[in-house]
Amino acid sequence: MVDPLQIIGISLTVVFICLIILGLAVTIVSKVVMKVEKSSGKEEKG
């Protein structure tokens, strides 16, 4: 018999970890993209 509290604990942990990792990944990607776009903007001006 599966323990319901275990199911809840595992599921919620995965949901939070997944979304936090997504948040971090998006933050990093945003910073990289902004840097790339800024430097390509500077190259065009140069």
Partner: protein
Amino acid sequence: MLLPPHNLAEFLPYFSGIGIKEVIMIVIGLFFIYLAIRKEFEPLLLVPIGFGIILTNIGGGMGEPPYGLLYLIRRYLIDTEIVPCLIFLGLGAMTDFTPLLARPMVGFILGAAAQIGIFCAFLMALALGFPLKQAAAIGIIGSADGPTTIYTCTKLAPEILGVVAISAYIYMALVPLIQPPIIYALTTKKERATYMPPAIRPVSKLEKIIFPIVLVLIACTLAPQSTPLIGSFAVGNLFKECGVVERLAESARNELMNVSTILLGLGVGGTLMAENFLTVRSLMIFGLGVFAFVTATIAGVLFGKIVYLATGRKVNPIIGAAGVSAVPMSARVCQVVARKANPRNYVLMHAMGPNVAGVIGSATAAGMLIALLGG
């Protein structure tokens, strides 16, 4: 010798084999159509569902195996995950992730927090005597996401699909009634009046293109059982954002979405036969549905307060309620409540972040429940 009928209960079967229970179901179907047309309660789903209920209960076997049309729709399009995933594809093609990408950490944390409601309802359903898989299917009503609810229920407890789906869509329509009292109860006027500047960080096209790819890589790795939903969502969003397949994006959010919605509504309505709807357990499921929404809102707002404090009182805690993924109604509720506390406030775009993150959170939660309960 055939005796004449003495009362209505004996009279009806002479016409089409329907009894009093079927008549009650037909009235219920008409009531859902009334709610949809007159009160505009989720009309896109409640009109076909209501009519599906009428068709399946009026006799003629439309909802019955092996050849009933509504049964076939359910069997080959819903039970096989096809229609819920196509709806998610259409939703992805309609969703603008800009508010979430502008402030991802706040959005994702609040989107995750609201999913606590799913598990509160799950526990309560277990306490009320529902078996494990049915309790999980009932709990997922708290996701406030129709396709996710239907997808999960089909996998875990198809026998209660109709009631669970109706419960989910009705409460989604009632979000403007359910959420505000909870928000008022859990926040002070000062907190509700927290001003958030209306403008959000500009998000580049490249970020919006990369996001669905990142979403699939991360979410589907951590919760593989959510891949059908999240993958469909992501591909629809990529159609929208890449800019080179505009006709696919148009079809996804219009024709595909509309056809899938019709089939989903009729298929779900077709499951609602008298013998599996007119039971005490159905009433309990309706009660648990509102419990799921209430606890999801409570969890979202409480986490909103944590974020409010953690950010030095810069984030309005109301937007935590938008983690309940009734898009965009929850976000609009937050906007209305915030404006009442501070007429300068415009939190709609900020609330849309957790609102769309909640869709991802609920699909992930659904995937985990399916994985752990062996759906």
